[in-house]
Homo-oligomer: 218 residues x 2
Amino acid sequence: MAVPSTAVASSRKKRGEGHTRREEILQAAKELFLEAGYDATTIRRIADRVGVSAPALYLYFHDKEAMMLALCDQTFGHLVEHVAFIEKTVSDPLDCVRQFGEAYARFGLEHPDEYRLVFMGNNMPESVRKVGHRMATDDPTRPGVGGAIVFSRLVAMLSRLEASGVKLNYPPDTCAELCWMGIHGVVAALIMKPDFPWSNRETLIKGMLDIVVKGLVR
Amino acid sequence: MAVPSTAVASSRKKRGEGHTRREEILQAAKELFLEAGYDATTIRRIADRVGVSAPALYLYFHDKEAMMLALCDQTFGHLVEHVAFIEKTVSDPLDCVRQFGEAYARFGLEHPDEYRLVFMGNNMPESVRKVGHRMATDDPTRPGVGGAIVFSRLVAMLSRLEASGVKLNYPPDTCAELCWMGIHGVVAALIMKPDFPWSNRETLIKGMLDIVVKGLVR
DNA sequence: AAGATAAGTTATCGTTGATAAGTTATCAAT
DNA sequence: ATTGATAACTTATCAACGATAACTTATCTT
């Protein structure tokens, strides 16, 4: 005996209005992914929340993975904008890196589920696993470039820092990787083991940034 | 048309010899988990490799997760031993921390699936997600305590470092957390995005350790 | 009114993890 | 040597999953 659908059936869209259904699906998928995670969110549950049959989702997305990719783009767009704002408004390159780190960590902690899905999704399909690191040379219209864009801005910041005369202990790419890995380590730990008796969050974030900055510049 | 089993059927175990079958299952599961990852390894494939029917696995393990937990214990046991060896043989406390970091990173990169399951398992059942941070007060015979033991040794090392007269910028717990987060960041990144054009692995590991050590000691 | 087609539906497939219920081999005690 | 208990299995089956094929229905254009 199947559980009866709790959702009100949604009326059929008029011609040319399919894209609104697409957005409804995306919204429902986002809610469910955030409520229950990727695996626990089934095609059928998404369809049920939208008020439509399961195969209808395949009219708008090639598969489950494509929905996730679209959501990643959406969420990361906000972070990309924020980082761009920092780059424009903060003149001191070192300060810029610090503010990037704080914004990044704050973003991760404020969107733990999206963060997990993009940067910690260990059982996602390959194309989703690769979301965070598609290079700028890839087609920018392809879904999933948000993570790569954010990272590339960090590389740019560190290049600018080096160009401003500050001596780095490693090439800018390596510095960016180490910087990102350090911050990511903090965010990942706090997100994944929220019940562990960690030290104060702010202390850890500021502490890691201090460590990284001190360790990267000569 | 089902794919015919390629495995030779294994003969029934004699009475009291069930534990050997349990070990056979664990061995096959380990091979398959490492070959194809957790999700791609199905109960049926494990059973097929052992030469036994799928439900037979449930005579020895409550579910798929329990097999992975048993393997995690097995694998993390080696790391625990290695860390204990370092503590015994390396006299200089700072050197001890460095060697811990290198051993930890090497372990993670050599056992990416176990590492992911213990420290990055965001979609695992709750009992597996909590594997890494069960405290020493928990029942030590329960599966999955390896991660907590390893972390507690790092705290001990940093306490020893402080006791030896070295001034730390944070309390030993916080230092251990930051140190672990840094190394974990490196390992997690390399494991999760293996196709990204990262800098040299050794450079990143040594670099992160340099950064952390330099940043933690006054 | 009629054809084209966007926007759905129902029925179904193969696969998954897991369980129920029955079977067979082995051992201990009579 | 037979019997009873039980360890060590098997076969049959379940519900849920992602996905597809094939069919229907509503809407727009001409």
